[in-house]
């Protein structure tokens, strides 16, 4: 399955996801545990305070020493005034605040049968707040400490700014045998209850600020890391890959000169080296292909065996070339010959033909397809126009004769194991060659077979009968003069 989108975008997504999931979850977990640990620590502190207070009350509440306990709670009251966020109070099991009325004094005096304690003349009865009575009662019934968080179920994330948050601890005082029971009787288990209420809003706010700062820091780190990693990947992966892609695109367009600039010895560098080697190899093969016909290349590609096929063969030969070459230097001869061959080759390819081989000053080409005869004739006419119409110095007066024949030939890889060509052979090939031989300079001689396949488009001189080597009967041939206008012809130059 192919994936769409750029690598950069996918890598960025992976980076951000990895950082968010990895670091983000770690920070979230860390922040959560820190918050929980802080709350647990605060709870433990309250627990310890209540335990100390419990022991203090137990030691102060000796028989007949209630006044000491009263003083103790007066002192505790002053602590409460100094620290508004912290309240300590003592309640009787029925929910009335201790020492806020005369009930206990009267009960103890009655139980003892004397007036050990003088009732207060002025007092204000205070009760446990209504909204705490249920928890208070539960603590008394269970004879167990209860700690609650207010607002109930609030968390670091859910507590809104401005809300106040509290821990309240209820710690029952046991009606201890001997110590308490002497004055208060043995018919109840819980003598009273210590209530400690601590405002933890500041702590929660501090944690919230820490979490906010951590979150912002995390976002900043993610952004910076993403940028850094993106730049790194761009510099070391994406841009080199794009550069390699550009080189490949140029090579695909036929330009074999560019090379990948290799700056590193990593995987990308090795890839660049490999691409450079590949381009050099392609370039060599491309250059070699100039010397191998397209049909040979196609044959090699398809591994074709020998076969019969209808082909129009094209033969062109420079007239008087032997005498021409004897009068000139070799380099000039080669230069002129190459000019003539180049010009013909260009036209053959343009007209859809395939150069089979060059034999000295002779060109052998093949045309295939339904309109092969017409293509070969059009090609021959174009070559003669090019040759006849050229400036004298271009071809130095060299002219060609052309023979064209159409017929069934044998196609195959012909040669030895060390050197072979994918070429044609057969009687029709020989006839084409013979027609070329009889064509004078500037003439195009076509066989009756070729004429028959394209006669509606050709303008020819009436048939001639010629004797050709290897044929006992005379052959009927035509001199090609041009194309009918409907075939795009403009005649001979």
């Amino acid at each position: 399955m192919q994936q769409s989108g750029s690598i950069t975008r996918r890598i960025n997504i992976i980076l951000i996801l990895s950082l968010t999931v990895g670091i983000g979850m770690t920070i979230a977990y860390y922040a959560g545990t820190q918050y929980r640990d802080l709350l647990v620590s605060t709870q433990d502190n309250l627990d310890q305070q209540s335990a100390i207070l419990y022991q203090s009350i137990k030691n102060a509440m000796l028989p007949g020493q209630a006044s000491v306990a009263v003083e103790l709670f007066d002192d505790i009251g002053s602590v409460r005034q100094n620290r508004q966020s912290f309240e300590i109070s003592l309640y009787r099991a029925n929910g009335t605040e201790a020492f806020s009325d005369n009930a206990t004094i009267q009960e103890v005096n009655t139980r003892r049968g004397d007036r050990m304690f003088e009732p207060r003349e002025e007092f204000t009865v205070r009760q446990i707040p209504i909204d705490e009575r249920e928890t208070f009662g539960r603590s008394v019934a269970r004879r167990q400490k209860i700690l609650i968080r207010e607002p109930d179920g609030s968390s670091l994330f859910l507590t809104l700014a401005g809300d106040r948050s509290y821990f309240t601890l209820y710690n029952p005082l046991i009606n201890l045998p001997g110590l308490c029971t002497r004055c208060h009787g043995s018919d109840h288990t819980v003598r009273g209850l210590i209530r400690i209420r601590s405002d933890i809003t500041a702590t929660v706010d501090k944690q919230r600020r820490n979490l906010l700062f951590s979150s912002l820091l995390f976002v900043g780190i993610v952004v910076v890391l993403t940028l850094v990693l993106t730049l790194f990947i761009h510099g070391h992966v994406i841009n080199p890959v794009k550069h390699i892609r550009d080189v490949c695109a140029l090579v695909t367009g036929g330009d074999f000169t560019p090379r990948v600039m290799v700056h590193s010895r990593d995987e990308i560098g090795v890839l660049g080296d490999t691409v450079n080697t590949m381009v050099e190899g392609l370039h060599e093969r491309f250059e070699l292909s100039k010397y191998v016909s397209a049909s040979t290349i196609e044959s090699l590609r398809n591994s074709e065996a020998g076969t019969n096929a209808l082909i129009t063969v094209f033969f062109s030969d420079i007239r008087g070339f032997t005498a021409y070459s004897e009068r000139r230097e070799a380099d000039e001869v080669v230069d002129r010959l190459n000019r003539v061959l180049n010009a013909q080759t260009e036209i053959i390819h343009r007209e859809g033909g395939d150069v089979d081989k060059y034999v000295g000053d002779e060109v052998v080409a093949m045309f295939t397809g339904d309109d092969q005869a017409l293509k070969a004739c059009r090609c021959a006419l174009a070559i003669q126009r090019e040759m006849e119409g050229a400036e004298p110095e271009r071809f130095d007066g060299l002219r060609v004769g052309i023979g064209v024949n159409t017929g069934s030939v044998i196609l195959g890889m012909i040669g030895s194991e060390r050197r072979a060509d994918y070429t044609v052979t057969g009687d029709h090939v020989n006839l084409g060659s013979r027609l070329c031989s009889v064509a004078k300079a500037g003439q195009i001689v076509i066989s009756e077979h070729t004429y028959a396949r394209a006669q509606d488009h050709l303008r020819v001189s009436r048939p001639y009968r010629v004797s050709v080597k290897g044929k006992t009967a005379q052959q009927r041939v035509y001199l090609l003069a041009g194309l009918e206008p409907a075939a795009g012809g403009e005649g001979r130059a």
Partner: protein, 185 residues
């Protein structure tokens, strides 16, 4: 192509395996595998000796209007006493179990089953112990055993180590290892 394409899958598999190991390790560290403790209160205790002949049919804090009957296991009968600096110290051996049947009233009907049990198990090394004892309340209907690791039981029984209003009232202020009615042979 197959071999190349399979590498990311292998890497992803490796990453998942590593993640599993990390999560498993964290789960082990955070103690996800805690198991329920076994019962610490023996069922066959009625044949044990009683710690006292006193009928515990008077109200006391913690048990209020409930008749109590106490039993001590054989290990507890090996209690030792030692005098140090003029004070007698009682010491119950580790493994001592004292079971107190608590009835619904001070005058239960004959054959009436207790409503719950309060139990002392001597295990000084147990982190849940207070004063060397694990304090347990067992609900005889649900069979639930609740360890009381806060003041409730412990604070009352600490009074047993000084002079108190029960039994012989411990006027000599012996250290009685938190037992109000010490076992006497």
């Amino acid at each position: 192509m197959t071999a190349i394409a399979s590498r990311p899958r292998r890497a992803a598999g490796g990453a998942l395996l590593a993640l599993g190991v990390v999560i498993g390790g964290l789960a082990a560290l955070t103690g996800c595998g805690d198991r329920e403790p076994k019962s610490m209160v023996p069922e066959e205790y009625r044949s044990w000796e009683s710690t006292t002949d006193v009928e515990l049919d008077y109200p006391i804090p913690g048990h209020e209007q409930n008749l109590r009957r106490t039993y001590i296991n054989e290990r507890g009968t090996e209690v030792e006493t030692e005098a140090r600096a003029g004070r007698v110290y009682w010491s119950y051996p580790e493994g001592t179990v004292i079971i107190k049947d608590n009835y619904a009233s001070l005058d239960p009907a004959p054959g009436e089953a207790p409503m719950n049990q309060t139990v002392m198990v001597k295990r000084p090394d147990d982190p849940r112990s207070r004063g060397g004892w694990i304090w347990i309340v067992k609900d005889l209907k649900s069979r639930e055993e609740r360890i009381i690791d806060y003041e409730f039981c412990f604070d009352c029984h600490a009074v047993a180590n000084e002079s108190h209003p029960f039994g012989d009232e411990n006027l000599d202020e012996e250290y009685r290892d938190y037992v109000f009615f010490p076992y006497r042979k």
